[in-house]
Amino acid sequence: MENLSKYDQVFISNLQVTQGMLSTLTYQSVPAWDSVGHMGLIAQLEEAFDIMIDTDDIIDFSSYQKGKEIIAKYGITL
């Protein structure tokens, strides 16, 4: 549970979205989630969970939901 709220917080603070927008949030669905925003988001997730995400996973990280699956691969239970 604590990990999930940490995960959510990274999106909220990086992409200036509200909690309510998260479940349907995808890359490019808000102006802040572009190439620049994606780098900020991934960098902060790596820092928050102390992991290093593979290039392929960074490329596949196309939505809030998809990101949950990816983070799980690194042993983080959301």
């Binding site: 490019q28 190439s35 620049v36 290039t55 196309s62």
Partner: protein
């Protein structure tokens, strides 16, 4: 004021196109001299420097409509910025000069609507075929004149491209770049700016000079994030006759 007959656009778009660029010191009186051009040119493009509302207003009164800001960017290579994460990713991405079949792939991607913020594509007076043809011709012309076109590769797969042209000794102009559709949402977009920087450094250059449209906010943001500064801005107005 500079008036250019854009003959290449006749072939690209099939219409007679003229481009007028005003400079900060031009006066409002210069407008009277272009009245005939404004009324009769099939496709007219007028660029006005910022802070000249007198010109904006007079041009709008002549029936031109505002479509974009042309933002000019410059980067001294020694000022290039890249985050730690981007450096890691950039190291796993390579680039190589295109061969003929790579160009075909690129042209297919362009026909598929790669440049969504292009002022030709945004304009209902033009078709998407015209917009695509214009880019394809542009690239072919520049190759003829000695420019290079590179593919950006992730694990041997093309994810995007960039062009490269020396406009003055040590100053490079990547006149076009973009990501392919399957990788548009990959976060790798930054490499379309970074790989030209890497190539300019490899060639011992000093500077990148380029411009982009205000209608392409992600690309404007990407330039700024990588250390580019804005050297100038022009308001762009258009009219069809």
């Amino acid at each position: 004021m500079k008036i250019v007959e854009a003959v290449w656009e006749k072939r690209n778009l099939g219409v007679v196109c003229k481009e007028i660029t005003f400079e900060a010191h031009d006066s409002l009186e210069d407008l009277s001299g272009i009245k005939a051009l404004v009324e009769h040119t099939e496709y007219l493009v007028v660029k006005v420097p910022t802070l000249r509302y007198d010109l904006n207003q007079a041009i709008a009164a002549m029936g031109l409509s505002f479509i974009e800001v042309s933002i000019h960017f410059e980067l001294m290579l020694k000022n290039a910025l890249l985050s730690g994460l981007q450096t890691r990713l950039n190291n796993s991405i390579t680039y190589a000069e295109m061969e003929v079949r790579d160009l075909e792939l690129l042209f297919d991607e362009i026909r598929d609507g790669m440049f969504a913020s292009d002022r030709i594509l945004l304009d209902p007076a033009f078709t998407s075929e015209q917009a695509a043809n214009r880019y394809i011709h542009w690239i072919q012309d520049e190759i003829q004149r000695g420019a290079q076109v590179y593919k950006i590769l992730h694990k041997n797969q093309s994810v995007g491209f960039f062009t490269f042209k020396e406009i003055k000794e040590g100053i490079y102009y990547p006149f076009l770049a973009g990501m392919y559709k399957a990788f548009a949402a990959s976060g790798l977009g930054f490499t379309t700016l970074r790989k030209p920087i890497d190539e300019a450094i490899r060639r011992g250059g000093q500077m990148i000079s380029t411009y982009t449209s205000s209608n392409n906010l992600p690309v404007v943001r990407a330039h700024i994030q990588q250390g580019f500064s804005i050297s100038g801005m022009y308001y762009v107005f258009i009219k069809h006759n």
